[in-house]
Amino acid sequence: MTTPLRSLSTLTAGQAKPDTPVKIAVTGMNFFYGATQALSDISIALNANLVTAFIGPSGCGKSTFLRTLNRMNDIIPGTRVEGTVTIDGKDIYGPGTDVVDLRRRVGMVFQKSNPFPKSIFENVAYGLRINNLATNRGELEGRVEESLKAAAIWDEVKDRLHASALALSGGQQQRLCIARALAIQPEILLMDEPASALDPIATQRIEELIYQLKRDYTIVIVTHNMQQAARVSDATAFFWLGGLVEYGPTETIFTNPAEKLTEDYVTGRFG
Protein backbone atom coordinates (compact mmCIF):
# COMPACT_ATOMS: atom_id res chain seq x y z
CA MET A 1 0.00 0.00 0.00
CA THR A 2 1.35 3.43 -0.85
CA THR A 3 1.26 6.46 1.39
CA PRO A 4 -1.11 9.21 0.30
CA LEU A 5 0.31 12.05 -1.73
CA ARG A 6 1.97 14.62 0.47
CA SER A 7 1.37 18.13 -0.72
CA LEU A 8 1.83 21.55 0.77
CA SER A 9 -1.91 22.18 0.74
CA THR A 10 -2.63 19.21 2.99
CA LEU A 11 0.31 19.79 5.29
CA THR A 12 0.01 23.47 5.99
CA ALA A 13 -3.08 23.73 8.13
CA GLY A 14 -3.35 27.26 9.44
CA GLN A 15 -0.58 28.55 7.21
CA ALA A 16 -0.47 30.33 3.90
CA LYS A 17 -0.94 27.76 1.20
CA PRO A 18 1.04 28.06 -2.01
CA ASP A 19 -1.05 29.75 -4.66
CA THR A 20 0.63 27.91 -7.51
CA PRO A 21 -0.60 24.65 -9.02
CA VAL A 22 1.06 21.29 -8.52
CA LYS A 23 3.69 20.79 -11.21
CA ILE A 24 5.17 17.43 -10.29
CA ALA A 25 3.29 14.67 -8.48
CA VAL A 26 5.02 11.48 -7.40
CA THR A 27 3.09 8.56 -5.97
CA GLY A 28 4.31 5.36 -4.39
CA MET A 29 7.80 5.56 -5.77
CA ASN A 30 10.23 2.75 -5.04
CA PHE A 31 13.64 2.84 -6.62
CA PHE A 32 16.23 0.09 -6.85
CA TYR A 33 19.88 -0.06 -7.79
CA GLY A 34 19.97 -3.75 -8.63
CA ALA A 35 18.80 -5.50 -5.47
CA THR A 36 19.36 -2.47 -3.27
CA GLN A 37 16.32 -0.37 -2.58
CA ALA A 38 17.29 3.31 -2.51
CA LEU A 39 13.84 4.90 -2.21
CA SER A 40 10.76 3.54 -0.45
CA ASP A 41 7.25 4.63 -1.13
CA ILE A 42 7.81 8.31 -1.86
CA SER A 43 4.66 10.33 -2.48
CA ILE A 44 5.00 14.06 -2.85
CA ALA A 45 3.52 16.94 -4.83
CA LEU A 46 5.80 19.82 -5.85
CA ASN A 47 4.31 23.20 -6.72
CA ALA A 48 5.07 25.31 -9.76
CA ASN A 49 7.17 28.47 -9.41
CA LEU A 50 8.45 27.53 -5.99
CA VAL A 51 11.89 26.44 -4.92
CA THR A 52 11.66 23.06 -3.26
CA ALA A 53 14.73 21.80 -1.41
CA PHE A 54 15.55 18.18 -0.65
CA ILE A 55 17.68 17.78 2.44
CA GLY A 56 18.99 14.80 4.34
CA PRO A 57 22.22 13.04 5.24
CA SER A 58 24.45 11.49 2.59
CA GLY A 59 22.94 8.36 1.12
CA CYS A 60 19.37 9.26 2.12
CA GLY A 61 18.20 9.08 -1.48
CA LYS A 62 17.64 12.76 -2.17
CA SER A 63 19.85 12.89 -5.29
CA THR A 64 18.46 9.61 -6.56
CA PHE A 65 14.97 11.02 -6.15
CA LEU A 66 15.89 14.24 -7.94
CA ARG A 67 17.19 12.21 -10.85
CA THR A 68 13.95 10.28 -11.18
CA LEU A 69 12.23 13.53 -12.08
CA ASN A 70 13.84 13.70 -15.51
CA ARG A 71 14.65 10.00 -15.79
CA MET A 72 18.34 10.66 -15.46
CA ASN A 73 18.69 7.33 -13.63
CA ASP A 74 17.64 5.53 -16.83
CA ILE A 75 21.22 5.73 -18.02
CA ILE A 76 22.47 3.74 -15.00
CA PRO A 77 22.28 0.00 -15.77
CA GLY A 78 20.33 -2.21 -13.38
CA THR A 79 18.06 0.49 -11.99
CA ARG A 80 14.35 0.05 -11.62
CA VAL A 81 11.53 2.45 -10.77
CA GLU A 82 8.08 1.68 -9.39
CA GLY A 83 5.25 4.15 -8.91
CA THR A 84 4.30 7.16 -10.99
CA VAL A 85 5.77 10.58 -11.65
CA THR A 86 3.51 13.04 -13.39
CA ILE A 87 4.41 16.44 -14.71
CA ASP A 88 1.37 18.57 -15.44
CA GLY A 89 -0.63 15.41 -14.93
CA LYS A 90 1.18 13.32 -17.53
CA ASP A 91 3.09 10.22 -16.43
CA ILE A 92 6.72 10.64 -17.48
CA TYR A 93 7.39 6.91 -17.09
CA GLY A 94 4.38 6.03 -19.21
CA PRO A 95 4.72 4.58 -22.69
CA GLY A 96 5.06 7.22 -25.34
CA THR A 97 7.20 9.52 -23.25
CA ASP A 98 9.97 11.03 -25.33
CA VAL A 99 12.86 11.09 -22.86
CA VAL A 100 14.82 13.62 -24.88
CA ASP A 101 11.83 15.93 -24.89
CA LEU A 102 11.33 15.29 -21.17
CA ARG A 103 14.90 16.36 -20.42
CA ARG A 104 14.41 19.46 -22.54
CA ARG A 105 11.46 20.37 -20.33
CA VAL A 106 13.24 19.35 -17.15
CA GLY A 107 16.72 20.85 -17.18
CA MET A 108 19.48 19.90 -14.80
CA VAL A 109 22.47 21.54 -13.17
CA PHE A 110 25.06 19.40 -11.45
CA GLN A 111 27.34 19.71 -8.46
CA LYS A 112 30.44 20.11 -10.53
CA SER A 113 30.12 22.63 -13.31
CA ASN A 114 30.57 20.84 -16.60
CA PRO A 115 30.83 23.32 -19.46
CA PHE A 116 31.68 21.94 -22.87
CA PRO A 117 35.29 22.60 -23.93
CA LYS A 118 34.00 25.26 -26.28
CA SER A 119 33.48 29.00 -26.22
CA ILE A 120 31.09 30.65 -23.78
CA PHE A 121 28.76 31.42 -26.69
CA GLU A 122 28.81 27.88 -28.04
CA ASN A 123 28.03 26.39 -24.65
CA VAL A 124 24.73 28.20 -24.59
CA ALA A 125 24.06 28.01 -28.35
CA TYR A 126 24.58 24.24 -28.51
CA GLY A 127 21.24 23.19 -27.10
CA LEU A 128 19.45 25.76 -29.22
CA ARG A 129 21.07 24.42 -32.37
CA ILE A 130 20.44 20.72 -31.82
CA ASN A 131 16.85 21.42 -30.85
CA ASN A 132 16.36 23.78 -33.81
CA LEU A 133 15.22 26.50 -31.46
CA ALA A 134 16.70 29.36 -33.46
CA THR A 135 15.99 29.92 -37.12
CA ASN A 136 18.78 32.35 -37.89
CA ARG A 137 21.98 33.78 -36.46
CA GLY A 138 20.29 36.90 -35.07
CA GLU A 139 17.75 34.85 -33.17
CA LEU A 140 20.45 32.54 -31.89
CA GLU A 141 22.51 35.45 -30.59
CA GLY A 142 19.43 36.96 -28.98
CA ARG A 143 18.57 33.72 -27.16
CA VAL A 144 22.16 33.28 -25.98
CA GLU A 145 22.21 36.81 -24.59
CA GLU A 146 18.83 36.33 -22.91
CA SER A 147 19.96 33.12 -21.25
CA LEU A 148 23.23 34.59 -20.04
CA LYS A 149 21.32 37.53 -18.61
CA ALA A 150 18.80 35.25 -16.90
CA ALA A 151 21.70 33.39 -15.29
CA ALA A 152 23.21 36.69 -14.05
CA ILE A 153 26.48 36.24 -15.89
CA TRP A 154 26.01 38.39 -19.00
CA ASP A 155 27.85 41.44 -17.66
CA GLU A 156 30.87 39.35 -16.81
CA VAL A 157 31.19 37.61 -20.17
CA LYS A 158 29.63 39.89 -22.79
CA ASP A 159 33.02 41.15 -23.96
CA ARG A 160 34.54 37.68 -24.35
CA LEU A 161 31.74 35.46 -25.62
CA HIS A 162 34.13 33.61 -27.87
CA ALA A 163 36.71 32.87 -25.19
CA SER A 164 36.88 29.35 -23.82
CA ALA A 165 34.30 28.54 -21.15
CA LEU A 166 37.00 26.67 -19.28
CA ALA A 167 38.78 29.95 -18.56
CA LEU A 168 35.92 31.10 -16.34
CA SER A 169 36.00 30.81 -12.55
CA GLY A 170 34.12 27.96 -10.88
CA GLY A 171 31.20 30.20 -9.93
CA GLN A 172 31.02 31.65 -13.43
CA GLN A 173 31.17 28.18 -14.99
CA GLN A 174 28.26 27.12 -12.82
CA ARG A 175 26.21 30.13 -13.86
CA LEU A 176 27.14 29.39 -17.48
CA CYS A 177 25.78 25.87 -17.01
CA ILE A 178 22.60 27.38 -15.63
CA ALA A 179 22.43 29.66 -18.71
CA ARG A 180 22.93 26.61 -20.90
CA ALA A 181 20.07 24.85 -19.13
CA LEU A 182 17.82 27.91 -19.42
CA ALA A 183 18.54 28.44 -23.13
CA ILE A 184 16.27 25.63 -24.22
CA GLN A 185 13.49 27.06 -22.07
CA PRO A 186 12.78 24.24 -19.64
CA GLU A 187 9.80 24.40 -17.31
CA ILE A 188 11.57 22.75 -14.42
CA LEU A 189 15.16 23.13 -13.25
CA LEU A 190 16.70 20.37 -11.17
CA MET A 191 19.81 21.37 -9.26
CA ASP A 192 22.00 18.79 -7.60
CA GLU A 193 24.26 20.53 -5.07
CA PRO A 194 24.76 23.46 -7.46
CA ALA A 195 26.90 25.48 -5.06
CA SER A 196 28.75 22.89 -3.03
CA ALA A 197 31.98 23.36 -4.96
CA LEU A 198 31.88 27.16 -4.78
CA ASP A 199 33.22 29.77 -2.37
CA PRO A 200 30.78 31.77 -0.22
CA ILE A 201 30.51 34.75 -2.57
CA ALA A 202 29.91 32.60 -5.64
CA THR A 203 27.46 30.57 -3.57
CA GLN A 204 25.56 33.68 -2.61
CA ARG A 205 25.27 34.68 -6.26
CA ILE A 206 23.90 31.27 -7.20
CA GLU A 207 21.43 31.40 -4.31
CA GLU A 208 20.27 34.85 -5.31
CA LEU A 209 19.92 33.62 -8.89
CA ILE A 210 17.77 30.69 -7.75
CA TYR A 211 15.56 33.16 -5.90
CA GLN A 212 15.15 35.24 -9.08
CA LEU A 213 14.56 32.25 -11.37
CA LYS A 214 11.56 30.88 -9.52
CA ARG A 215 9.40 33.55 -11.14
CA ASP A 216 9.74 31.66 -14.41
CA TYR A 217 10.68 28.12 -13.43
CA THR A 218 9.84 25.39 -11.00
CA ILE A 219 13.05 24.66 -9.14
CA VAL A 220 14.04 21.57 -7.21
CA ILE A 221 17.35 21.69 -5.42
CA VAL A 222 19.25 19.00 -3.56
CA THR A 223 21.60 20.30 -0.94
CA HIS A 224 23.37 18.86 2.07
CA ASN A 225 23.83 22.43 3.25
CA MET A 226 20.78 22.93 5.44
CA GLN A 227 21.37 26.65 5.78
CA GLN A 228 21.29 26.93 2.02
CA ALA A 229 17.96 25.13 1.90
CA ALA A 230 16.65 27.53 4.54
CA ARG A 231 17.85 30.58 2.61
CA VAL A 232 16.68 29.73 -0.88
CA SER A 233 13.68 27.46 -0.71
CA ASP A 234 9.97 27.88 -0.19
CA ALA A 235 9.30 24.24 0.61
CA THR A 236 11.60 21.62 2.09
CA ALA A 237 11.47 17.84 2.02
CA PHE A 238 13.56 15.86 4.49
CA PHE A 239 14.73 12.42 3.35
CA TRP A 240 16.15 9.74 5.59
CA LEU A 241 17.15 6.17 4.74
CA GLY A 242 15.36 6.32 1.41
CA GLY A 243 12.10 7.59 2.88
CA LEU A 244 10.40 10.96 2.92
CA VAL A 245 10.18 11.90 6.60
CA GLU A 246 8.65 15.35 6.38
CA TYR A 247 7.63 17.84 3.76
CA GLY A 248 6.33 21.35 4.34
CA PRO A 249 6.92 25.09 4.05
CA THR A 250 10.60 25.80 4.64
CA GLU A 251 9.95 28.11 7.56
CA THR A 252 8.00 25.35 9.32
CA ILE A 253 10.66 22.73 8.71
CA PHE A 254 13.33 25.03 10.16
CA THR A 255 11.39 26.60 13.00
CA ASN A 256 8.86 24.03 14.10
CA PRO A 257 9.09 20.69 12.32
CA ALA A 258 6.41 18.11 13.06
CA GLU A 259 8.73 15.11 13.25
CA LYS A 260 11.30 14.50 15.97
CA LEU A 261 13.64 13.06 13.34
CA THR A 262 13.49 16.27 11.30
CA GLU A 263 14.13 18.36 14.39
CA ASP A 264 17.13 16.23 15.32
CA TYR A 265 18.52 16.65 11.82
CA VAL A 266 17.99 20.40 11.41
CA THR A 267 19.41 21.05 14.88
CA GLY A 268 22.48 19.01 14.00
CA ARG A 269 21.86 16.18 16.46
CA PHE A 270 22.60 13.62 13.77
CA GLY A 271 23.41 13.40 10.10
Partner: protein, 219 residues
Protein backbone atom coordinates in the same frame (compact mmCIF):
# COMPACT_ATOMS: atom_id res chain seq x y z
CA UNK B 1 30.79 43.66 -11.13
CA UNK B 2 27.26 44.99 -10.79
CA UNK B 3 26.01 45.57 -7.28
CA UNK B 4 23.84 42.69 -6.41
CA UNK B 5 21.24 43.15 -3.75
CA UNK B 6 20.40 40.09 -1.73
CA UNK B 7 16.74 39.52 -1.09
CA UNK B 8 17.73 39.18 2.57
CA UNK B 9 18.62 42.87 2.50
CA UNK B 10 15.18 43.70 1.16
CA UNK B 11 13.59 41.80 4.00
CA UNK B 12 15.81 43.57 6.49
CA UNK B 13 14.73 46.93 5.06
CA UNK B 14 11.13 45.83 5.28
CA UNK B 15 11.67 44.94 8.93
CA UNK B 16 13.09 48.38 9.62
CA UNK B 17 10.11 49.95 7.88
CA UNK B 18 7.75 48.07 10.18
CA UNK B 19 9.66 49.18 13.27
CA UNK B 20 9.45 52.79 12.14
CA UNK B 21 5.76 52.42 11.51
CA UNK B 22 5.37 51.06 15.02
CA UNK B 23 7.48 53.87 16.48
CA UNK B 24 5.33 56.40 14.62
CA UNK B 25 2.14 54.86 16.03
CA UNK B 26 3.50 54.82 19.57
CA UNK B 27 4.60 58.43 19.24
CA UNK B 28 1.19 59.50 17.88
CA UNK B 29 -0.62 57.86 20.75
CA UNK B 30 1.62 59.48 23.30
CA UNK B 31 1.04 62.87 21.68
CA UNK B 32 -2.75 62.42 21.64
CA UNK B 33 -2.87 61.28 25.27
CA UNK B 34 -0.93 64.33 26.43
CA UNK B 35 -2.95 66.66 24.21
CA UNK B 36 -6.09 65.19 25.77
CA UNK B 37 -4.68 66.12 29.16
CA UNK B 38 -3.60 69.65 28.28
CA UNK B 39 -6.76 70.49 26.32
CA UNK B 40 -9.01 68.54 28.70
CA UNK B 41 -10.37 66.66 25.71
CA UNK B 42 -12.09 63.52 27.02
CA UNK B 43 -13.16 62.04 23.66
CA UNK B 44 -9.59 62.32 22.36
CA UNK B 45 -8.34 60.34 25.33
CA UNK B 46 -10.97 57.67 24.75
CA UNK B 47 -9.61 57.28 21.21
CA UNK B 48 -6.18 56.44 22.58
CA UNK B 49 -7.72 53.94 24.97
CA UNK B 50 -9.32 51.89 22.21
CA UNK B 51 -6.65 52.16 19.53
CA UNK B 52 -3.96 49.72 20.68
CA UNK B 53 -4.68 46.96 18.17
CA UNK B 54 -2.43 48.23 15.36
CA UNK B 55 0.61 48.38 17.63
CA UNK B 56 -0.11 44.97 19.09
CA UNK B 57 -0.40 43.51 15.61
CA UNK B 58 2.92 45.06 14.58
CA UNK B 59 4.50 43.76 17.77
CA UNK B 60 3.65 40.21 16.75
CA UNK B 61 4.47 40.75 13.08
CA UNK B 62 7.92 42.21 13.79
CA UNK B 63 8.88 39.42 16.19
CA UNK B 64 7.74 36.90 13.63
CA UNK B 65 9.86 38.52 10.92
CA UNK B 66 12.92 38.58 13.17
CA UNK B 67 12.40 34.96 14.09
CA UNK B 68 12.21 33.90 10.45
CA UNK B 69 15.16 36.01 9.37
CA UNK B 70 17.28 34.44 12.11
CA UNK B 71 16.10 30.93 11.35
CA UNK B 72 16.27 31.05 7.58
CA UNK B 73 19.17 33.40 6.82
CA UNK B 74 21.70 32.88 9.59
CA UNK B 75 22.72 36.56 9.55
CA UNK B 76 26.22 37.52 10.60
CA UNK B 77 27.96 40.56 12.10
CA UNK B 78 26.07 43.81 11.59
CA UNK B 79 23.05 41.98 10.14
CA UNK B 80 22.88 39.75 13.19
CA UNK B 81 23.17 42.71 15.53
CA UNK B 82 20.48 44.57 13.57
CA UNK B 83 17.99 41.74 14.03
CA UNK B 84 18.77 41.25 17.71
CA UNK B 85 18.40 45.02 18.13
CA UNK B 86 15.09 44.92 16.26
CA UNK B 87 13.71 42.28 18.63
CA UNK B 88 14.58 44.45 21.62
CA UNK B 89 13.43 47.72 20.09
CA UNK B 90 10.16 46.03 19.21
CA UNK B 91 9.55 45.24 22.88
CA UNK B 92 10.41 48.79 23.92
CA UNK B 93 8.05 50.34 21.37
CA UNK B 94 5.22 48.06 22.40
CA UNK B 95 5.77 49.16 26.01
CA UNK B 96 5.64 52.80 24.91
CA UNK B 97 2.26 52.04 23.33
CA UNK B 98 1.10 50.47 26.61
CA UNK B 99 2.34 53.46 28.58
CA UNK B 100 0.36 55.78 26.30
CA UNK B 101 -2.69 53.75 27.30
CA UNK B 102 -1.74 54.03 30.99
CA UNK B 103 -1.36 57.78 30.59
CA UNK B 104 -4.79 57.96 28.96
CA UNK B 105 -6.36 56.05 31.83
CA UNK B 106 -4.82 58.47 34.31
CA UNK B 107 -5.96 61.42 32.20
CA UNK B 108 -9.48 60.04 32.08
CA UNK B 109 -9.58 59.97 35.89
CA UNK B 110 -7.86 63.32 36.16
CA UNK B 111 -10.43 65.01 33.93
CA UNK B 112 -13.17 64.14 36.42
CA UNK B 113 -11.69 66.73 38.78
CA UNK B 114 -11.09 70.44 38.43
CA UNK B 115 -7.53 71.19 37.31
CA UNK B 116 -4.98 71.10 40.14
CA UNK B 117 -2.77 73.69 38.47
CA UNK B 118 -1.69 74.98 35.13
CA UNK B 119 0.35 72.22 33.47
CA UNK B 120 3.87 73.25 32.51
CA UNK B 121 6.38 70.54 33.35
CA UNK B 122 4.29 67.57 32.22
CA UNK B 123 3.84 68.87 28.63
CA UNK B 124 7.55 69.62 28.68
CA UNK B 125 8.27 66.06 29.78
CA UNK B 126 6.01 64.74 27.04
CA UNK B 127 7.80 66.80 24.43
CA UNK B 128 11.17 65.62 25.66
CA UNK B 129 10.07 61.98 25.71
CA UNK B 130 8.75 62.30 22.16
CA UNK B 131 11.97 63.93 21.01
CA UNK B 132 13.99 61.13 22.56
CA UNK B 133 11.83 58.49 20.94
CA UNK B 134 11.99 60.17 17.54
CA UNK B 135 15.74 60.70 17.75
CA UNK B 136 16.31 57.11 18.84
CA UNK B 137 14.33 55.83 15.84
CA UNK B 138 16.07 58.25 13.49
CA UNK B 139 19.38 57.01 14.84
CA UNK B 140 18.23 53.45 14.14
CA UNK B 141 17.32 54.21 10.55
CA UNK B 142 20.39 56.32 9.84
CA UNK B 143 22.68 54.04 11.83
CA UNK B 144 23.82 57.13 13.66
CA UNK B 145 25.53 56.37 16.99
CA UNK B 146 26.06 60.07 17.75
CA UNK B 147 22.36 60.82 17.60
CA UNK B 148 21.78 57.75 19.77
CA UNK B 149 24.34 59.05 22.24
CA UNK B 150 22.49 62.38 22.29
CA UNK B 151 19.32 60.54 23.33
CA UNK B 152 21.16 59.03 26.29
CA UNK B 153 22.23 62.45 27.56
CA UNK B 154 18.63 63.71 27.51
CA UNK B 155 17.36 61.11 29.90
CA UNK B 156 18.72 62.93 32.95
CA UNK B 157 16.68 66.03 32.11
CA UNK B 158 13.55 63.92 32.00
CA UNK B 159 14.34 62.36 35.38
CA UNK B 160 14.88 65.80 36.90
CA UNK B 161 11.56 67.04 35.56
CA UNK B 162 9.83 64.05 37.06
CA UNK B 163 11.33 64.82 40.47
CA UNK B 164 10.33 68.47 40.14
CA UNK B 165 6.75 67.50 39.24
CA UNK B 166 6.58 65.24 42.28
CA UNK B 167 7.87 67.92 44.69
CA UNK B 168 5.53 70.54 43.39
CA UNK B 169 2.47 68.30 43.50
CA UNK B 170 3.39 67.10 46.97
CA UNK B 171 3.09 70.72 48.07
CA UNK B 172 -0.44 70.96 46.62
CA UNK B 173 -1.50 67.74 48.28
CA UNK B 174 -0.19 68.83 51.69
CA UNK B 175 -2.04 72.14 51.46
CA UNK B 176 -5.35 70.83 50.11
CA UNK B 177 -6.44 67.22 50.51
CA UNK B 178 -9.04 67.65 47.74
CA UNK B 179 -6.16 67.72 45.26
CA UNK B 180 -4.74 64.38 46.37
CA UNK B 181 -6.56 62.22 43.85
CA UNK B 182 -5.95 64.33 40.72
CA UNK B 183 -2.41 65.18 41.84
CA UNK B 184 -1.62 61.48 42.25
CA UNK B 185 -2.77 60.94 38.66
CA UNK B 186 -0.47 63.70 37.47
CA UNK B 187 2.40 62.09 39.38
CA UNK B 188 1.55 58.78 37.72
CA UNK B 189 1.51 60.46 34.32
CA UNK B 190 4.92 61.99 34.94
CA UNK B 191 6.20 58.58 35.97
CA UNK B 192 4.85 57.01 32.75
CA UNK B 193 6.52 59.75 30.72
CA UNK B 194 9.78 59.11 32.50
CA UNK B 195 9.43 55.40 31.70
CA UNK B 196 8.90 56.26 28.02
CA UNK B 197 12.20 58.13 28.18
CA UNK B 198 13.77 54.96 29.59
CA UNK B 199 12.45 52.94 26.66
CA UNK B 200 13.79 55.54 24.22
CA UNK B 201 17.12 55.19 26.04
CA UNK B 202 17.00 51.42 25.57
CA UNK B 203 16.36 51.90 21.86
CA UNK B 204 19.32 54.29 21.63
CA UNK B 205 21.56 51.78 23.42
CA UNK B 206 20.48 49.08 21.01
CA UNK B 207 21.33 51.35 18.08
CA UNK B 208 24.82 51.90 19.44
CA UNK B 209 25.19 48.14 19.85
CA UNK B 210 23.91 47.55 16.32
CA UNK B 211 26.26 50.04 14.70
CA UNK B 212 29.42 49.69 16.74
CA UNK B 213 28.94 46.41 18.66
CA UNK B 214 29.55 48.32 21.89
CA UNK B 215 27.37 47.55 24.88
CA UNK B 216 26.80 50.88 26.63
CA UNK B 217 24.10 49.72 29.03
CA UNK B 218 24.47 50.16 32.77
CA UNK B 219 27.29 52.67 32.49
Amino acid sequence: MERHVRHFQEELDELKGRLLEMGGLAEDRLRLAVRGLVERDGPLVEKVLVGDAAINQLHIDIDDRCFKLLALHQPMAVDLRAIVAAVKINTDLERVGDLAVNISEAVRRYLQHPPVKELIDIPRMAELAQDMLRDALDAFVRRDPELAQHVLTQDDALDELKTAVFRELLGYMLRDSATIEPALDLILISRHLERIGDHATNVAEDVIFMVSAKDVRHQ
